[in-house]
Subunit: 196 residues, 2 copies
DNA sequence: GGATATTGATTGAACGTTCATTCAAACACA
DNA sequence: TGTGTTTGAATGAACGTTCAATCAATATCC
């Protein structure tokens, strides 16, 4: 039974402060001193709740991943199993959900991608996400296309989602969410219109 | 070694050592000491030639950009001005040139993208690159499509190039260069087949 | 029910490490 | 000898972690 700050409350507060710190200073300059100051607590508390800075980083990535999963799942609920266009659109829209396209989240994703190339813990998480997007799409396309084309379609739409997202993240004026969604949807429609 | 550390030779040697260091250790752990050791020189030499670590980083990004520009330009030489498919394919192929798809370059690009969000010098360089890819493509598509569709086509193909590249960079087994090129080309063909 | 013990959250200064930079000295060549 | 190159130890700043001390909220006991 926690006393004042409930355990999950503190953890979420620190994760949010971490996202803000990465957004404001970049991962390299997101020191625990700055993160703690943004959360209005002292430095020691981070090690207390996450066992160290890297624990907080992993928890932050898990947090973003969970929000992405939720954003997609919510949009797919209630859709008919035959409604391939509906499911594909839901997957596309979920990937451009506001939880994934705000500046702090985009900046953090970019930093985590780079870090994941040498941090096994982050690499595993990133890989789960990459495969989930691909196989979700592939599963839908297979309902309408032969396996080879379905694979190509899934690779293409997944790549387009990530690429449009990336270019939006790097663009100084920010990301054009509706434009991205429209182009990704158009690409999916192209593949689904293929006759086999 | 004697004087024969020609100024440009030394600089290129240090840039190459920097790429290797970022590949092996990641940007955060690519310290001056490690870079210098990989180049077989002492730490002070980096400040002597680049004025500091950030100077070396900027020079390294310029180096990658120059190689990308060369890879595209070479492939476009000798093509007819009417050959839209040829130019688009050259742009696509150049972006997946071996200078851009080796592990060290991919890792370094990722790190630089993340860093560029808070380093004005890197941000300018990154932006030049982003716009160049887009406007090169747009210029070609305009020869065949009305302006609105040409813009969409360019955004789509540019996004697909970057997205496929990104997913390849993050994939543990490495990037499938020919697969990426094929999918990007297919997407370009789709847009060019549109009737207006 | 009031006093006391227990628990777990929280603090922040101290510690040891690591890093980029600097610069006087050494060096190589013309 | 003079000039530009190279060295590497010294410097000081900054970082993450640790931990004894403090505090607030419950639990236990008489």
């Amino acid at each position: 039974m926690p006393h004042h700050g409930s355990l999950n409350g503190r953890r979420e507060q620190l994760i949010r402060a971490n996202l803000t710190a990465i957004h404001q200073y970049g991962l390299a300059d997101a020191t625990i001193a700055r993160i703690a100051r943004l959360a209005g607590v002292s430095t020691g508390i981070i090690s207390h709740y996450f066992g160290g800075k890297s624990g907080l980083m992993e928890a932050t990535m898990r947090h973003l991943l969970a929000e992405l999963g939720r954003a997609v799942t919510e949009r797919r609920q209630g859709l008919d199993a035959d409604d391939v266009e509906g499911h594909v659109d839901a997957i596309i829209d979920g990937n451009f959900d506001s939880t994934q396209t705000n500046r702090a989240a985009m900046r953090t994703w970019l930093e985590f991608w780079a870090s994941s190339m040498h941090q096994p813990a982050l690499q595993r998480l990133q890989r789960v996400n990459e495969r989930r997007l691909y196989s979700n799409l592939c599963h839908q396309f297979r309902k309408r296309l032969p396996p080879t084309q379905a694979r190509d379609a899934a690779r293409s739409v997944a790549g387009l989602i990530d690429g449009l997202w990336l270019r939006g993240a790097l663009h100084p004026d920010g990301i054009d969410i509706n434009g991205c969604r429209r182009l990704a949807r158009e690409n999916a429609r192209f593949w689904l219109a293929q006759t086999h």
